[in-house]
Point group: C2
DNA sequence: CACATTCTGGAACAATTGTTCCAGAAATCG
DNA sequence: CGATTTCTGGAACAATTGTTCCAGAATGTG
């Protein structure tokens, strides 16, 4: 009947995500998006709705991709502590590779929009819950395998770890001093001892 | 010779700070600022320069005020641990009073601008250094008074505390669940034991 | 081939952005 | 009072914002 889409929807969304990730919501213009996504202005509106809707879809995509990464990393057999160390150290390393210092898209969304956009608030809150759960399960496994000592409220530790992750990612935007970031990581992970 | 200023410069700057604090840089329009500051458009430009310059001055004001608060709280005689608990618990309580969930202005600035504005980056970095130092000094006192055990890298702990503070403030934007935030605080402060 | 559909580019939209210009009112000090 | 300076309000600026309309090209299916 009709013509097919010329562009790959997922690819375009990926590009949109990159723009929102590095610039945030307000500072990203439709013009920026059109250029980086490589699609037509009208196609953007037809496919994704308006700017706000596109932002939410980009945020969802990020959550899905990063959520999966976290899940994979944590459910791997082997030392849970080591996996967590890898997770946090990865953030430090990543911050030095990323010239734009984009940080965490979800954290950025919390900071910029969660306070005044309920759709964003719902998504960042859900992300917290999902990540917390993955961390909690990993900690449970660590306890089961004798790597993490009992007597601790592991749910609370999981929440702490997520919060620390966000804090670290924010710190990485302010400083490029590796020692500072590594200090933070070291003390953070010391709660597992 | 000439007419005096009709408005109080500090008061106007305070108002500007409130606008940038709750809306961020991009989302705050000159119109918003003019209305909330209660001064003339032209007076704004004459007194503070352009929007960007005004933002930096507002950020500086915030840093000064909050910095002083932190300093006062930490240098008080008495239990250092108690002061830190008060500090973190205060953030939790504050997040429930603040309907706008503004978080920490410095943290917001890191998230939104530090990556692409070097003046902002310098200021947030300096804030980190100042706060770290105040925390470090407090920890030293705690150690001297026998409240905090030795053998820990207190400089690292101070950095950790600042990062945790920022993380907590970000978490408070995502969730209104008191238990979650208190869990984070409890585990964070447990590194002092 | 021909119809139907949808993509594409560009123009156009009104609204808002940050900023400046201007004329007049207001206030200080000699 | 009068001279000088600065504040004040509003208009005006060009640029950019997000969004929509339109005409035509391109593609798939009958």
């Amino acid at each position: 009947m009709a013509r097919h889409k010329e562009f790959d929807r997922d690819e375009a969304l990926q590009k949109a995500m990159e723009v929102f990730w590095s610039r945030g919501y307000e500072a990203a213009s439709i013009q920026d998006l059109v250029e980086h996504m490589g699609i037509n202005r009208q196609s953007l509106y037809d496919t994704f709705g308006d700017k706000h809707a596109l932002y939410l879809q980009a945020l969802d995509r990020y959550r899905e991709v990063e959520g999966r990464k976290l899940f994979e990393l944590l459910k791997r057999s082997g030392s849970v502590k080591k996996a967590l160390r890898q997770l946090f150290q990865g953030v430090v390393e990543g911050s030095f590779c990323d010239g734009e210092r984009r940080g965490c898209f979800v954290g950025n969304a919390m900071s910029e929009l969660a306070g005044r956009c309920k759709e964003t608030a719902a998504r960042t809150c859900s992300n917290l819950a999902v990540a917390e759960d993955a961390l909690y399960r990993a900690l449970l496994r660590g306890k089961r395998e004798g790597e993490i000592k009992g007597g601790r409220d592991l749910r609370a530790v999981a929440r702490f770890l997520y919060s620390s992750m966000q804090g670290l990612q924010l710190m990485a935007k302010a400083t490029r001093d590796r020692k500072t970031l590594e200090d933070v990581v070291r003390v953070t992970l010391s709660v597992l001892d």
